[in-house]
């Protein structure tokens, strides 16, 4: 029953698209005012998709196994929270979520753009509807969440237990808010190009959308990393896995776009580049969708692969790309007058930011898709992992951090060297501090010192600006400060982490120069949908402080999977991390114990970065 409602709501939503297009085209030429029917039908469309989405949620909550999606991804013994979040934890449901956010955002856009030109609103809405129609067709033709199966099975296949985690439950909605936000920017940029409206006013208007999209995308990526750290049990939070890269690429483009919009707001500079970035950000989001859902990549996180779906997204994606390129080259009015740029100015600093960001983007992009092309053209299969990305990105972080520190201090058009003594002073302090820290450690001295120095430099400069500049440019300061904190936390986490791996029998003790770990006991408990095997370990470290860790093994009944749940003790300074794994055919367990300093600061610094963006968003509404 819910499936029928859900499906027909979808089709009504699709019909709305055609109605909107019809009225939009009519309204474009015929009147001076925006036809509010367009707004109403846009709302209606959102309403229908919401009904459809709720029908799917209900189907999951009531374990309606006549619905194929529910059958494939749910189970009666799943806790309610995960029944609900399981709605979007699969391919079909997540696409419906995409549609939900797409229709919601275009509605909000039309609501919030009432002061804008009619043609601009119509055109943005039109292009957005093209995207929406594409998604409707994709959903209905290849990924229908409302397929019937008969006879109705008594039980479902269950949701993979590693997906049953709170961080992962909200990770897709947050992430999609970021991706869909970039679709609005895409449509808006193309509309502005067509109407020759790429101006300071347009920049001011679209900046809010860029900020919203950027904040959610950053949060979405953060949630994904937190999930990987707490749930996957390897103690890491970023592996340069293709699916991680796929979310990072639009983020890089979007951050670059944010900086360009900040320039465009004030001066008519880099306007063509801002449009290109707007196109690129959404294109990268869509390419990401393609790469993850088509089965073309080998990754732990991909959805079930289906080349038919892959082909559809591929064709859709390239249609969008060709459309956007056509509009850009046909309509964009390139400036005949060349701008004059002084080398020591804020404009140049932003150019340098763009330069480095695009370099980082190209590294991630090439690293992610190169194996695909190599295999197609030469049948050779290679892997590209963390060593590649580290080698190409880390050295470039140094000038990037320095530019981030100095750039905001430069004036528009032209800067000079007066009153900049503190810049040199802080550099010396950073350098000395880094040498002090790195000197006694058994690691690569030069690279680490240089990295830590530049991160400290940004850290000190931005900290000073809090006191000196106060609330002026607060958002930029917080965001850059957050970034310096992020790099420092990652560096120190990397440098000071320790790990011990060993096989232990019940009752045995492992002793080395850093810790003493005793395997105290094992408890077996039967939970609702899994059997839990919990080990108790006492860990005594050099300072004599004791910690009791309870790593766990879970044997789920449906689907039949064994997961290893790490026990993580978090505090402000450091994380203690332990996992226990079963060894085939033996009576001992494999134990990994890690001490990871500053983990919490990694998460907090990303939140700080988001907070910086949030302040900029709120400020607009005050001033």
């Amino acid at each position: 029953m819910t499936s029928t409602i859900g499906f027909y709501s979808l089709t009504f939503g699709l019909v709305c698209s055609f109605l909107i297009i019809f009225f939009s085209v009519k309204n474009f030429n015929n009147s001076q005012f925006f036809d509010n029917k367009i707004l109403s039908i846009t709302f209606l469309q959102f309403f229908f998709v919401t009904i459809s989405f709720f029908s799917l949620i209900l189907a999951f909550v009531y374990s309606d196994f006549s619905n194929e999606t529910v059958f494939n991804h749910s189970h009666t013994t799943k806790p309610l929270f995960y029944k609900i979040s399981g709605t979007w934890g699969n391919h079909e449901g997540s696409l419906l979520l995409w549609l939900l956010v797409l229709t919601f955002f275009i509605f909000v856009f039309l609501l919030k753009s009432q002061k804008q030109k009619k043609e601009y609103r119509i055109l943005t809405s039109l292009i957005q509807q093209v995207i929406i129609i594409g998604f409707f067709f994709f959903l209905i033709k290849t990924s229908n969440p409302f397929n019937y199966i008969f006879p109705v099975p008594a039980q479902g296949l269950g949701l993979n237990p590693i997906l049953q985690d709170p961080a992962l439950a909200i990770h897709p909605p947050i992430l999609y808010l970021g991706y869909v936000g970039s679709s609005i920017i895409f449509s808006s940029a193309l509309a502005a190009t067509t109407l020759n409206y790429v101006s300071k006013d347009w920049a001011k208007h679209i900046k809010q959308w860029v900020l919203v999209s950027w904040i959610f995308l950053t949060l979405g990526i953060l949630l994904g990393s937190i999930w990987a750290y707490y749930e996957l049990g390897w103690g890491g939070f970023w592996f340069w896995d293709p699916v991680e890269n796929v979310s990072l690429m639009p983020w890089l483009a979007l951050t670059t776009l944010l900086h360009c919009i900040l320039v465009l707001e004030k001066k008519l500079l880099l306007s063509s580049w801002a449009i290109i970035l707007s196109i690129a950000t959404f294109t990268l989001s869509m390419s990401g969708t393609f790469l993850v859902r088509s089965g073309i990549l080998n990754s732990v996180h991909t959805f079930a692969n289906d080349p038919e779906r892959g082909l559809y997204i591929l064709i859709f994606l390239f249609c969008l790309i060709f459309l956007s390129l056509f509009i850009f080259f046909f309509f964009f009015k390139f400036e005949k007058k060349k701008k004059n740029l002084f080398w020591l100015s804020k404009e140049t600093a932003i150019l340098i930011n763009n330069w480095f960001m695009m370099y980082f983007l190209s590294v991630v992009l090439i690293g992610t898709i190169y194996p695909i092309f190599l295999e197609v053209f030469s049948s050779e299969k290679i892997s590209i992992g963390p060593p590649f990305y580290n080698k190409l990105i880390i050295p470039f972080l140094v000038p990037f951090l320095l530019a981030m520190a100095i750039g905001p201090k430069l004036k528009w058009i032209k800067s000079n060297f007066e009153n900049k003594k503190h810049l040199i002073l802080f550099f010396i302090i950073s350098l000395l501090l880094s040498i002090l820290i790195i000197r006694n450690l058994d690691i690569s001295f030069l690279l680490n010192t240089v990295l830590v120095t530049s991160a400290f430099y940004l850290f000190f400069i931005t900290s000073r600006d809090f006191f000196v500049k106060g609330f002026k440019r607060l958002s930029q300061n917080i965001a850059h400060f957050g970034f310096s904190l992020l790099i420092l936390s990652i560096l120190f986490n990397n440098i000071f982490s320790t790990e011990v791996i060993s096989n232990l029998k019940l009752g045995e003790t492992l002793e080395n120069e850093n810790f003493k770990i005793k395997f105290e006991n094992i408890k077996e408990i039967n939970e609702y949908n899994y059997k839990s095997i919990k080990g108790k370990f006492t860990v005594q470290d050099l300072n004599g402080s004791n910690e009791i860790m309870y790593p766990e093994l879970r044997i789920y009944n449906q689907p039949n999977i064994v997961t290893s749940e790490a026990d993580i003790k978090t505090n402000l300074l450091t994380d203690k991390f332990m996992t226990m794994n079963y060894i085939q055919n033996q009576d001992y367990f494999n134990i990994r114990y890690q001490v990871k300093p500053f983990m919490l600061w990694i998460w907090l610094s990303v939140l700080l970065i988001c907070f910086g963006g949030l302040i900029s968003f709120i400020k607009k509404y005050e001033g």
Binding site: W234, F239, P386
Partner: protein
Amino acid sequence: MKIIKYLILILIILNLSSIKAEDQINDLNIKITKNLRCLICQGQSVYDSDTEFANSVKILVQNKLRDGQSEKEIYSYLKDKYGEWILYDPEFNKNTYFLWLLPVLMFLVGGAIIFKLLIKTKY
């Protein structure tokens, strides 16, 4: 008595150097296994993975390191058995020239564009 003291001293020194060597071997083992891709859980490194295959590879690497083989030799051996795919750090050979050079090329091109933009203002 003195001979015994010297013998003990020599024993200790020998042990220390072998402990240090064992430490270095362990560190190198970690470095190598982090660079190897597990064939069973294909999204994990051998270091992170707990599959039977990964455990066997770890033992194999340890044995080879103890035998005095170099990092390169171990990679070469595993490449011969399983293909280049097993290495996370792509080698610089005819398959990967573009991989390593394209990003650097992009960086240089970007730099050139900016340089040209700035040069113009000097005149």
